[in-house]
């Protein structure tokens, strides 16, 4: 499973980071998420980072970050290996 970030669709709301932390901790703890979202409001650039703690939502019926992204900015490619990456649109 590979999580792909479509930067042109992202609104930088941080929901993916928060639900990721819920998966890992059972509480809302963004510092403990595998995803980090950072946005510069002055030029609208967004940094989106997925780190090595991502377990592809082990035990969940689906990838929660993609499930709760109403902007369709996260896409799950099921037959591809996971990829750890840092991406920015700046």
């Amino acid at each position: 499973m590979k999580i792909q970030w479509a930067k042109e669709k992202c609104y930088a709301c941080g929901t993916c980071q928060l639900i990721c932390s819920y998966h890992h901790t059972g509480s809302f703890w963004p510092d403990c998420a595998s995803i980090k979202v950072l946005r510069n409001p002055q030029n609208a650039s967004i940094k989106w980072k997925l780190d090595s703690t991502c377990d592809q939502c082990d035990g969940e019926p689906e990838a929660l970050c993609a499930k709760y992204c109403v902007y369709s900015a996260l896409i799950v490619a099921a037959d591809q290996p996971s990829e750890i990456k840092e991406t920015t649109d700046a």
Binding site: A12, C13, L18, P30, P41, A44, V70
Partner: protein, 644 residues
């Protein structure tokens, strides 16, 4: 009793108190206050009522500046990102409150605090640094005088942490311009009541927050089931994708009903803005939409209504920033008769950069433009600036003069009513204000909207209950049985909307996700379930509306009664809108009829359980809500009605 229940989740758990006079910091438990009010603004209101003496002025060190994060902020509740900033209003002397979204509130919760209460005044400029238990009052000499945009950049560079969140003031707040905002994430303004002016009076430039902690909920599985329910409701709501794409129909339709219902033109000379000007401002080829380069959202918000703008042509080319709202059109376009897209966008971004409240700017500058038109002020008063309608460069120059207190701007900076008294020559008649708070709001066409603006506890703003007819009201199925332009049943719906807003501000939910016109996909059922599953107390929808919402509103009402001479007569629209009808357009002839407004007020007070004759609160109402100590305070001042 509802308020004796023990809250088991959602709260960070502490109130942080910072005394700038004594350079000291302490904390207290937030649970008892939250049990009475649900949190957010309610806690701020309780503390202000308890601790601010009625003889205190807004500029005294004894005035408090209170930041209150909604109790659901930090969780997955859609749109739960809002922060209340309360203080004494610099305009009314009563309760001041402004509300803002963004990312600052959640960061404060993760740092461990629900509220921050600022007391005293620093002898020199400072900023507050909060990182979990570490709270420091630091020298701000190196950022004092900087714009909001520059301050953000400098602080990020200085502190070396991209994840900090900052609430700050700009030059306007430092200069104690009355209509100054507290800015968050550069583009989001807690604008009303002059809260930025109060922050400046305390020599406080910024509050920087970084939180590493977490928020727990009482029953996570039940809580997430309700989150899922809200996401389904959002997916089924036809307005949500519209909001996400372009905020509002103002972007797409020059005949959208809102143009005729809520736009006040040339400082109130009319409530109809010519169609060709709407098209020039908002067409997709050369208008505002052509300057919009993207959309962004606040924290955990599925509505996503924030425009990111870049001006790529003309005199203001190179300007960038977030934000273009309906109020941008109300204040900076129609009210100023300004149809140049670049000027309107630039004026908005400049207002943010200088830390001004945009409604204040639109209101007081449209007023002086009309005074210039009428010859009440002349080139001598404006230092040669020609304040003619549509003069964009004069509009921009006046914004700068206002923030930096230059010339006529210095006079306006001390308050518009005060300026009117100095200018005299009948100028106050043309000033649109409620209880001293300058306003950009309509009163003649949309009657429920006008009623809510008139009765707002923070005066002159529309977010405390304004409605725009049944087809834009409340949960589906719509429409409810009332029209925006009739007087009939407006009080009932205005009270309903005002109560849901109380809940939204105490829970921290944006009203564009909540119950107000917009995406408004959430309902009272959702609110109650989040309180039950998240906070671990048991409430019904009726409890929320009839108890907690009523407590919130009555606290602010009581503060106003104790600290000002406001009575029923101050709840009527400004005289001009009662006397001068709309001149053109589909609502030509419409007026804010005084007798009809009085009828709406009668019903409005009755619905809240207040005295119809005076507008004062009653003992029965307050004691029924458990607010015995508030009743006693009012009684001692002779401002409590003993029998209903």
């Amino acid at each position: 009793m509802l308020s004796s229940q023990v809250i088991k989740g959602c709260l960070a758990g502490k109130i942080l108190r910072v005394n700038l006079s004594t350079d000291s910091v302490c904390t207290e438990d937030s649970h008892p206050h939250a049990a009475r009010t649900l949190g957010g603004r309610g806690i701020n209101s309780l503390i202000m009522l308890d601790e601010i003496d009625p003889h205190t002025r807004w500029s005294d060190p004894e005035n408090l500046l209170c930041f209150g994060v909604g109790s659901l902020v930090g969780t997955m509740v859609p749109g739960a990102c809002r922060v209340d900033v309360s203080s004494m209003s610099v305009f009314t002397g009563g309760k001041g409150s402004a509300n803002v979204g963004g990312f600052w509130g959640k960061e404060l919760k993760y740092a461990g605090y629900d509220n921050v209460i600022i007391q005293g005044r620093s002898p020199k400029p400072v900023y507050i640094y909060i990182e979990d238990d570490r709270v420091e009052i630091r020298d701000a000499g190196f950022i004092w005088g900087q714009t909001t945009f520059a301050t953000e950049e400098i602080l990020r560079r200085e502190l070396g942490d991209d994840f900090i969140r900052i609430a700050l003031i700009g030059p306007a707040g430092e200069n104690q311009v009355r209509g100054s905002a507290v800015m968050v994430d550069t583009a989001r303004a807690a604008g009303g009541s002059g809260v930025g002016c109060v922050m400046g009076s305390k020599n406080l430039k910024a509050i920087v927050v970084r939180g590493h902690g977490n928020i727990k909920v009482a029953d996570p599985e039940r809580f997430m089931r309700e989150v899922d329910r809200c996401y389904r409701q959002c997916a089924e709501e036809p307005h949500a994708p519209i909001m996400r794409k372009s905020l509002t129909n103002f972007y797409t339709d020059p005949d959208f009903e809102g143009w005729d219902k809520i736009m006040v033109v040339r400082n109130g000379q009319d409530d109809y803005w010519e169609r060709k000007k709407r098209i020039k401002l908002m067409n997709w080829e050369t208008g505002v939409p052509s300057l919009r380069k993207g959309m962004r959202a606040c924290y955990v918000c599925p509505t996503g209504c924030q425009s990111y703008m870049e001006i790529d042509r003309g005199a203001y080319a190179g300007t960038k920033g977030e934000g273009f709202w309906v109020n941008t059109i109300m204040g900076n376009a129609c009210r100023m008769d300004q149809d140049d897209p670049e000027t309107v966008v630039y004026s908005w971004i400049l207002t943010n950069e200088l830390g001004l409240d945009a409604d204040y700017v639109g209101s007081v500058l449209a007023w002086v433009f009309e005074l210039y038109e009428k010859g009440i002020i002349t080139d001598k008063d404006t230092d040669g600036l020609s304040l003619t309608w549509g003069n964009g460069s004069a509009f921009i120059e006046m914004i700068k003069r206002l923030a930096y207190r230059k010339g006529l701007g210095d006079l306006l900076a001390d308050g518009a009513v005060e300026a009117a008294q100095q200018i005299d020559k009948g100028s106050e008649y043309y000033l649109c204000h409620m209880k001293g708070q300058p306003s950009v709001e309509p009163f003649r066409v949309p009657k429920g909207w006008g009623l809510a603006v008139c009765t707002s506890p923070v005066a002159g703003r529309h977010l405390r209950g304004s409605t725009l007819g049944g087809n834009r009201f409340g949960p589906r199925p719509r429409p409810a049985d009332f029209n925006a332009t009739d007087y009939k049943r407006q009080a009932y719906y205005t009270v309903w909307q005002a109560k849901t807003k109380e809940l939204e501000d105490n829970l921290g939910i944006c009203n564009y996700c909540g119950t107000w016109s917009g995406a408004n996909f959430m309902t009272l059922t959702n609110f109650a379930e989040f309180v039950n599953a998240g906070m671990g107390i048991e409430v019904t929808e009726n409890n929320l509306m009839e108890h907690f919402a009523a407590v919130g509103r009555n606290l602010e009402k009581a503060f106003n009664t104790l600290h000002t001479e406001m009575t029923r007569k101050e709840d009527l629209p400004p005289l001009r809108f009662r006397e001068q009808p709309v001149k053109s357009g589909p609502y030509k002839g419409a007026l804010a009829d005084e007798s009809m407004y009085n009828q709406m007020l009668d019903e409005f007070y009755q619905l809240w359980g207040w005295d119809v004759k005076t507008g004062f609160q009653t003992r029965a109402c307050l004691e029924g809500l458990g607010l015995h100590e508030i009743a006693e305070k009012l009684s001692k001042q002779g401002k409590l009605i003993e029998s209903k």
